[in-house]
Amino acid sequence: MHYTNPTACSGASEDVLTHNVLPLLHEIRHALGKWLESGDPTVIDLRAIPMAPGEEDELLARLGSGEIHARLSALGDSEIVETAYPGAWLVTHRNTAGEIIGKYIEVCDIPQILKAPQEDVRAGLQRLQTQLG
């Protein structure tokens, strides 16, 4: 269930607020550079950064969307979207009720959560073997 907040929305159109959008974009720029140079990934927790209503939308709009759009169904849906800047991913976790429980910008070749975890592979293998008898 999603609520809209009239106060927050009307506030968004007004004056500039936290001014965190631009610094974040710069941080992503640095992270991409670092990834190319040393292969170190970066994860930015968007919910840990104070943003005024509307600012996050602005950030996401500026990041745009790229070629990959993945959906993960594990304890609720998660979206993994490559932004218009390859290597910069927007990861949104939701719980079963559809509430956002985490929102991250990940800078790497592929977000960790998309990779098949060994123990799940092992469990899957077992299941397949059982099925094949």
Binding site: M1, H2, Y3, N5, T7, A8, S10, G11, A12, E14, D15, V16, L17, T18, H19, V43, I44, D45, R47, A48, P50, M51, A52, P53, E55, L72, A74, L75, G76, S78, H93, N95, T96, A97, E99, I100, I101, G102, Y104, Q112, I113, P117, E119, D120, A123
Partner: protein
């Protein structure tokens, strides 16, 4: 449900995938304001954590804290975790009643003596133990008895943590917080009126993963109460620029300016509201246009008014100034009159100074 299984095992038995677990760990790190890089450590710790027995005692409270915790309509991962713990006694939630209920508590205590986690909400009356009893046992006695075998105590809500509203002046029941009665056990305070639901589960999760968390001077977990509302508030730039809403319906209020002048306690309140938010992450009081009440701070009810900033004098200053002027003028006039008398006396005592006077007492 076997108690010796690890959390990881329990989750897997319930068909939670590794990805789901990682997702939960990421959400937990975010909640605890830990950097995303700590997710693997959290995962590893939770994986191995064993589910403890939990006894939940409710004293002088409004059930708001329990409401807060159980408010969500659908299953969330936190609730899954919560389900995973063994909630052996919670008199509001449990099906059992009467002696059966008390038996459950006593047996849980016996089985897990020294290891169970005690969660308390509500304050404890001390003026007369009869003000609040459960199954004929006074709150004080029940707390003392149950706390004796607890590994640690989590005081959920401002009442258990600081005395809360029952303790507000004139405090007719002599309400006290848990920490005022129990001094020999580690106590984690999770204040708030109510606390943010995910903060309650987050603290439990943190306790499961890492044991006793780092606490601030009020025994609150630093992970959730480490920064002030003010420091994480999206309206902070307005404060810094000196742009304030003066009333609830003025231009400033509509533009979403800082609510400091309307009594916002954000600068002195330590909680995660500004980032975690409420109602499924929708908003928090300031975002909805209302000043923070400071509900996770001690004595928030008696701190001089919700709509008065914490630094504002509460007295009647014009009256004080008027008394001052009146008294000052009166006393000053008296002193001035005395001075005039003194001066006149000196004038009257004046003897004409002649040239001969000057040389009389020459010193070498």
């Amino acid at each position: 449900m076997a108690r010796d299984k690890t959390l990881g095992e329990v989750l897997r038995e319930r068909g939670i995938s590794r990805r789901g677990f990682l997702k939960f760990c990421a959400a937990t790190a975010s909640l605890m304001a830990l950097p995303p890089s700590t997710v693997p450590a959290i995962a590893a710790a939770l994986e191995k954590a064993r589910r403890p027995s939990v006894i939940w005692l409710s004293f002088q409270e409004c059930t708001g804290c329990t409401e807060s915790l159980t408010r969500a309509h659908s299953t969330t991962i936190e609730q899954l975790i919560f389900d995973t713990i063994s909630l052996d006694y919670h008199h509001t939630l449990q099906a059992a009643s009467g002696t059966g209920a008390e038996d459950a508590r006593e047996s849980a205590m016996q089985e897990n003596w020294g290891e169970y986690l005690l969660v308390v909400d509500g304050s404890i009356p001390t003026a007369n133990p009869g003000y609040s009893t459960i199954a004929g046992i006074s709150n004080v006695d029940m707390l003392r008895e149950t706390a004796a075998g607890a590994a640690a105590i989590v005081s959920v809500g401002s009442c258990a943590a600081f005395g809360g509203i029952p303790q507000a002046k004139p405090n007719p029941t002599g309400a006290v917080s848990v920490s005022e009665l129990i001094t020999d056990k580690p106590i984690i305070n999770v204040p708030g009126c109510p606390p943010i639901p995910v903060v309650i589960t987050g603290v439990l999760t943190q306790f499961l993963a890492f044991g006793l968390p780092e606490l601030d001077h009020l025994s609150r977990p630093m992970a959730f109460y480490g920064t002030s509302i003010h420091d994480r508030c999206y309206r902070r730039p307005f404060y810094d620029r000196g742009q304030f809403a003066e009333t609830f319906d003025d231009e400033g209020a509509k533009k979403g300016w800082c609510l400091y002048k309307l009594g916002c306690k954000g600068p002195t309140t330590y909680n995660a509201c500004a980032t975690t938010k409420w109602n499924e992450g929708t908003s928090f009081p300031i975002e909805s246009g209302h000043p923070c009440l400071g509900c996770s701070e001690p004595d928030f009810w008696d701190a001089g008014g919700f709509y008065q900033a914490l630094s504002i004098p509460t007295g009647d200053l014009p009256r004080a100034a008027a008394y001052g002027v009146g008294g000052g003028l009166l006393a000053g006039a008296a002193m001035g009159a005395l001075n005039r008398v003194r001066k006149n006396r000196a004038v009257q005592a004046h003897e004409k100074v002649t040239i001969d006077d000057l040389e009389k007492e020459r010193k070498p």
